[in-house]
Every structure is written in structure tokens, then in C-alpha cells.
Amino acid sequence: MADSDNLTLNFGPQHPAAHGVLRLIMEMDGEVVHRIDPHVGLLHRGTEKLAETKPYNHSIGYMDRLDYISMMCCEHAYVLAIEKLLDVQPPIRAQYIRVMFDEITRILNHLLWLGCHGLDIGAMALFLYCFREREDLMDCYEAVSGSRMHATYYRPGGVYRDLPEEMPKYKANRFISKSKVKKLNYNREGTLLDFIADFTERFPSKVDEYEALLTDNRIWKQRTVNIGVVEPERAIELGFTGPMLRGSGVEWDLRRKEPYEVYDLLDFKIPIGLNGDCYDRYLVRVEEMRQSNLIIQQCVAWLNKNPGPVIIEDNKLTPPKRALMKHDMESLIYHFKLFSEGYSVPEGEIYCPVESPKGEFGVYIVSDGANKPYRLKVRAPSFAHLAAINEMVKGHMLADVVSVLGTLDLVFGELDR
């Protein structure tokens, strides 16, 4: 028999299963993968360097664009880090709003992950159903911040504006009848909180639907069970966080271990997997969606009962009320000072992590006392996860690379920054 060399195969960066601009160099022996070398950096935009040149508040919008699937969680880490350096505490209502939107973001992220992971492996219908639910959550984003994705909603000291009292409604015209519009608007009659409450009531049955499609499905199981197994010890060594770590059976969740905001007042469970394979990570993420749903329900109940300020009234950090700014000279001076120069953050350094849907998303800021960070470093969970891909797919078939890529839940916005 003739000796055959390993075949080197290039996967991506323009491959629909590569989730963006990932390039993998694969060494194949027949259909078995021997070695994988991920090439990253194709979506590098220099966010960290960019943040050094701008006053603190300007970079909030850029944080959205890091992990563009879980926007508000990235903002949250950045804003929390600044708050810790400044040693300010946002009002309790703002904390609840943030937690609620963090969990909405978690569901958004997991829905997209589930849809795309399913699509990669061959479950087409699921993709459509997931995006149906995402639509409602996107509407929540838009109602509260004005943008469906890049919210720029959190601010150091709270959130920009309170939750709106009314939801935007569909309008009838000659192409759509009044009765149909009425049906479409049924959950938009009340406030945003009513809209979210209605969603949380519907959502568990939708998750049941996804599970009916996948959990027992033999094709799904053949593609995911015992693929990409990571032992718990190894998962910790590799720096895994989030569902990747919990899928391996390590109960580690920053919302519990180092509670920020009001997570210590809320009741939720941390799901963990047993085997550390793709299937377990799928189960963990689905259960996380259910738990997030519960958290949102608790937040909605609290927010309905407790009106109050959503941002601290310290005009050195947050702009004065608009009505006040128009008539009061001092407020106008604060307004101009804040929007032209920003605020100075005391000297020091801080690392502030949050449990983003993908894992531990952290922001490290070094401040030299100026109005812009001296250095900003983003700890992206996807980076550590991608680094383990060689280990996870070694010895598997080519088709399993797609399963593993899907289960890693990579987003290149944050990975390449």
C-alpha cells in the first residue's frame, strides 16, 4: 500500500458553518481530523486601543459591538468596572432593570445559538422558531433603548431612561385589516413590563417545542452525544467558563459565586451537565433559558411594584434632567462639562467580570486619573473556548468539527475584538 500523507484542508474564513470569519487549518487523515489550527484576527477592530482615545462614556456603544449577540451583557461589564472605580452604586431599580435585560440578552443569545447550531447539524425548522421568539425580545430592546441590537442603554450610575409606559403598535392600512392588526397587537396594549410578562408566560412552552424537536431526536443525538468531550479538570485548566464549563459538570456561575447587582436576591438554579459532550452543553443551555425566564419573571414582578429613579443624580457623572438643564444655569454648565470633557475616574485598576451568556466576560481598566482609560483589556470567553478546539476534535470526523464549532458558541466580535 502506498504511503499517503495527511491532507491539509482549509476551512473558512468564508464558510457558513464557521460562524463569522474563523479560519481553520485542518490536517486530515482521510475523514479523521488529526490537528486543527484556528487562525483568528480577521475581525480585529482595535476596540481596546480605540477606548484609550475616548472619554469613558463614548466606548459604551463599542462594547455592544464586541459580542454582538449578547450586547447588553458586554455593556454591563464595562459599566460595572467604571462604577467600581468611581465607587458609586446605581439605584436599586436600575439594578433590577439591568439584571432583567441581562437575562433577556441571555435568552436572545441562547436562542440564536440553538437555532444556528441546529441549522449547522441539519435541523432547519428550529432556526425559524428560534428567530420567531427572538423577534419579541428584540422589540423589548428597541422599546427601551431605541435600537434593536446595539442598545447603548447602560450608563455608569444606572441606565439611560426608565422603561417606557407604552409599546409601539402595528398600524392598519389597506394591506392589513383592523382585525388582524388587533390580533398582532394583543400583547402591546400595556406597558413594556406587561409585554415582557406575556412573553415569559409563553416562552416555556416554546422551549418545550424546541426540546420536542431535538432532545430525543436520534439524529441530533448521533451528532452530539460523545462529541467533543472535555473532562471537568481539563475544562478548568483550559480556562472554560459559562455553559462550556457547566456542561462538563463544574458548578461555576459568577451570578452565584460573585453576585453582582441583585442576583443574590433572586431565586434561580445553575444547571450542570454530566459528560461534558456537545449534547450536555446543549441541555445546559436550554435549561439556562428556562432559568433566565424565571429571573425575568421575578424582575418584572419587582419592577411593577417599585417605581423610582433609574440613574443616580450626581451631575458630575450623569447629565442633569433635560427640563432642568433648559432653565438652570448650573445644570447647563454640568451638561456642557459632562458631554465635552466627560468625567475623571480616580487612579487605579480594576477587573470586573460578568456572567455573559458565553461565559466570563470581563473588562480590565487601568486608570491614570484622566477622563479616558489608560488601558482597557477585554477578557473574551470565546477566546479560551476556541483555543481548546484542537483538543476537542482530535480523532473525530470532519462533520464533527461543525458540531464542536457550534457548541463553542463563538462570536468573532469579541474573540478578535
Binding site: K54, E142, P168, K169
Partner: protein
């Protein structure tokens, strides 16, 4: 247990369960709307194309304080100013680069006279590269054309700010 598994495998019960879901959804009303004719609702806070507003008497609101260009994270706004004939400070140039703008809404937040506003226009196009620059005239025209809509939108959201 083993027999049960064999029955499960042979009857394709797991696949049929999934097919039941897809069949049920096949007959359900769809959430898709026929886009150009029917549009999804747009929030009062929506951040779309930028426009410049005037007072009721037709006077420009903008006083060329340049807060918007100072606060813009993407440096999309460029302003030149001069003293006008009546002694007020006015812009001679007010360009917004549509390719640079990230629609963060900071400029509207910063404007002390409510001159620059976010409209809910999100459908626009250009065919030549240079058209990405929206000049002062274009922005004022946009503000005039959609004045009623913009005012209604801003009034509804005013008390949150």
C-alpha cells in the same frame, strides 16, 4: 427496558414527536409581515437617520455649540461656525458622514437646544460614495419634511429624559 428501547427505535417515536411540532406550526398563523406594505412597529425611542430641526418661526435651532461633534464616538459630525448677520452664532457647515455614524444617540442626548434629532427613518440608500455626506441643507430639509412625525415622537418620550 431493552424491549422498550427497541420499540422506541422501531416506531420512530422521537422523530414523530418532532414532526408533530413542525406540523402544528405549519398550520399556525405566521408572524411574518409583508414588509414594504406592512411594517413592524417602531418605538418612540427609535434611533434612525439624523435630522436638524428649526423653531416654529423657521429659525434654525442649532447654535453651533459643537457638543454633538465632541460627544460623537465615531467622529461623524463636522461643524464650521461663523457669526451671522444678526449677531448670533450659526453653523456654516454641518456634515454628517452616514458611513461613520453608529446611531448611538449621544448627539441627541447632548444637544442643549434639541436641534439634532434621531428620526425613525431607517430605509435610505445612496448610489454614489460622496452622497454619504449629509450636508446641513439636507438635514434641515429632512427635519422640515418629517417635522410633525418627529415632534410627536419626541413629545411622547420627553418625560423620561
Amino acid at each position: 427496558m431493552k424491549i422498550l428501547n427497541i420499540i422506541k427505535t422501531l416506531t420512530l417515536i422521537d422523530l414523530l414527536k418532532g414532526l408533530k411540532v413542525t406540523l402544528k406550526n405549519f398550520f399556525k398563523p405566521k408572524i411574518t409581515v409583508q414588509y414594504p406594505e406592512v411594517k413592524t412597529p417602531i418605538s418612540n425611542r427609535f434611533r434612525g437617520k439624523l435630522a436638524l430641526m428649526k423653531y416654529e418661526n423657521g429659525e434654525e435651532r442649532c447654535i453651533a455649540c459643537k457638543l454633538c461633534s465632541a460627544v460623537c464616538p465615531a467622529n461623524a459630525i463636522s461643524i464650521d461656525s461663523e457669526e451671522s448677520e444678526d449677531g448670533t452664532r450659526r453653523t456654516t457647515r454641518f456634515d454628517i458622514d452616514a458611513f461613520k455614524c453608529v446611531y448611538c444617540g449621544f448627539c441627541e442626548e447632548a444637544c442643549p437646544v434639541d436641534a439634532i434629532v434621531e428620526t425613525d427613518i431607517f430605509e435610505y440608500h445612496m448610489t454614489e460614495n460622496h452622497q454619504r455626506l449629509q450636508t446641513k441643507e439636507m438635514l434641515l430639509q429632512l427635519g422640515d419634511d418629517y417635522r410633525e412625525k418627529i415632534v410627536r415622537k419626541k413629545e411622547k418620550d420627553h418625560h423620561y429624559k
